[in-house]
């Protein structure tokens, strides 16, 4: 049979194999199960090819999702058989520009443009917002349980943690490099002295030229943190003129939302950015911290069944491990047992 000599790349090129992975049915399941039974030595190869196919996604253009209104609007237009209006507008393209109908419209458009320019400059002169105007944005949002790596158009690589949102303005890398973050991300910024890279998190603004650093800024939390691994960066507030703190490698700054103050400190270990390498690490963590982080990491809901008397704090490290593995580990150390039901984890004391 032809599949016997297949490499991983050959499987990836095979139409039947790809369809079996992406759109399986009884027939394909049966075929591959029996094929693997006859060729057990190929089991791993098939699994690898499958995993690679499953890991590749396209950006899902979530910002271009249709609204329910658009869904209804177009549906009713189709039923009425109304062809789109712009086809009229487009029909103008075939008319020469000196056609009176076209020139009249062009003149009107020109006057309107001048008028709005005048309105803009004379009537609205005092608005001085340091923020770039928000025209169009690209939003990448990870739900709980999902992390992703995003490459921006300037080459900057962003590791976006679970339950986090990165907003990239449409004119990114044209006249600025400005993004906004809710949640946690590790940035590896491509150096460009001409165009500083800024990240907005609520009121806090981080400005860099080309470095790698971690930002922890979940909106529901009271503390934001920016930690610098290499290069140089500054952290300040959105309002120009406010305090600005410059960081050197191995320094981090904590921003307290209540008091609006920034504190600088040094750090020695890189545990807190291990998340970007798929490492889940706890250091002297209590149950509420463990729960919060497991929920975010695995996209589950943790429910405490009864009073859980865990006094002991937990320290440990898990690299690319399943939820069961992690719960086994912590449960054993802390004396609880658990049950997983779909997306819910129920935790209770050992009997």
């Amino acid at each position: 049979m032809k599949y016997c000599d297949y490499t991983v790349a050959d499987f990836l090129k095979d139409e039947y194999f790809v369809q079996s992975v992406k759109n399986p049915n009884q027939e394909t399941d049966l075929f591959w199960e029996s094929w693997i039974q006859n060729h057990p030595e190929k089991r791993d190869l098939v699994r690898q090819a499958k995993e690679i196919i499953e890991h590749v996604h396209f950006n899902d253009l979530s910002e271009y999702e249709a609204t329910p209104e658009e869904f209804e609007e177009i549906f009713s237009k189709i039923l009425k058989g109304e062809k789109s209006v712009p086809s009229k507008r487009l029909a103008m393209a075939s008319k020469p520009w000196w056609n009176p109908a076209v020139t009249r419209k062009l003149a009107a458009a020109f006057i309107l443009m001048m008028l709005s320019a005048w309105l803009y400059f004379y009537l609205l002169p005092v608005q001085q917002d340091a923020d770039p105007p928000i025209v169009k944005q690209l939003i990448k949002e990870n739900p709980k349980g999902q992390r992703s790596i995003i490459t921006l158009t300037d080459g900057t690589v962003v590791h976006l943690n679970a339950n986090s949102k990165l907003i990239v303005h449409d004119n990114f890398n044209k006249n600025n490099r400005h993004v906004a973050l809710e949640g946690e991300a590790f940035f590896d910024v491509v150096k460009n002295p001409e165009s500083p890279f800024t990240i907005q998190c609520g009121d806090m603004r981080t400005t860099v030229l080309g470095t790698s650093f971690n930002i922890h800024a979940y909106p529901e939390k009271n503390n934001f943190q920016v930690a610098l691994v290499s290069g140089k960066l500054t952290v300040g507030m959105k309002d120009a003129g406010a305090e600005v703190i410059e960081l050197k490698p191995n320094e981090r700054v904590n921003y307290h939302k209540d008091t609006k103050t920034l504190n600088k400190e040094r750090f020695t270990d890189l545990d807190f950015i291990a998340w970007k390498d798929g490492i889940l690490q706890f250091k002297d963590a209590d149950l509420s911290e463990i729960n919060e982080r497991l929920e975010r990491w695995y996209g589950v809901n943790i429910i405490l069944d009864g009073k859980i008397g865990i006094k002991r704090r937990f320290t440990g490290k898990f690299e690319n491990k399943s939820l069961e593995y992690v719960l086994d580990g912590i449960g054993y150390a802390s004396g609880f047992e658990y049950k997983i039901e779909g997306k819910e984890v129920i935790i209770k004391n050992f009997k």
Binding site: K13, Q19, T28, E72, P86, S87, K136, D277, N320
Partner: protein, 219 residues
């Protein structure tokens, strides 16, 4: 293959209003649904619209960021299909049929606009992302972050046409023949070559990943 991943049907149409009566055709094949649609069966049209509109809406935006162009194209496409009736050709994949028709339509519209507004090249957005889908994450995450990043970089460096072909082949699980037809290639071999070349240029990183996976099986 053991598991199917419903996430790959990327668009959740349940978000949309259920006010439109739609025949329950979920157990019918595409050929049957399409032939009902051709005969003017309104339930079949509703079913197709409800199931494919959200997907087509996003698909259209891979060729232009202009929302109006996409909306107009979808609207006009369906009006023409409804008028076409029995003259339409048969298909065993409605998704493929609609992809091909919408792609062609948007290109026509963009060409006209280009003449009128002097707009430059047609943008095509088939950007990749290498992610841990929540489904994978709960079970095992075997491809580590560094390899994922390298895979992502290699994918990004493919040509636009390669990316588009990969999108159809791996993401929408269309066949080589359908890929060729959508992209206006005269024979299947061209589609094969496009994807073969893409995979070959990824060979280095693929080998690296399969080596790691192999190793992790013994841990």
């Amino acid at each position: 293959m053991a598991t199917t991943d419903p996430k790959y049907i990327q668009v959740d149409s349940s978000r949309f209003a259920k006010s439109i009566p739609s025949a329950n055709l979920a157990d019918k094949s595409d050929i049957e649904i399409w032939s009902m649609f051709k005969k003017g069966h309104e339930g079949a049209f509703n079913f197709i619209y409800e199931n494919y509109f959200p997907l087509l809406f996003k698909y259209g935006h891979r060729f232009t960021k202009n929302r109006e162009v996409v909306k107009d194209a979808i609207q006009d496409l369906f009006i023409e299909l409804r008028a076409g009736g029995q003259n339409l050709s048969d298909t065993d994949s409605i998704k493929y049929y609609l992809f091909k028709a919408l792609r062609w339509k948007i290109q026509q519209y963009l060409k006209k606009r280009k003449r009128f507004l002097g707009e430059d090249k047609l943008p095509v957005d088939f950007t990749f992302e290498v992610v841990d889908s929540p489904e994978i994450s709960l079970i095992r995450r075997q491809i580590d972050e560094e390899k994922k990043m390298r895979l992502q970089k290699s994918l990004q460096s493919l040509s636009k046409r390669q990316k588009e072909a990969i999108y159809y082949f791996y993401y929408e699980h269309l066949t080589y023949a359908q890929v060729a037809s959508i992209m206006g290639m005269s024979n299947i071999k061209s589609a094969r070559n496009l994807i073969y070349k893409a995979i070959d240029s990824l060979k280095k990183i693929i080998n690296l990943i399969s080596l790691t996976l192999l190793f992790s099986l013994f841990q």
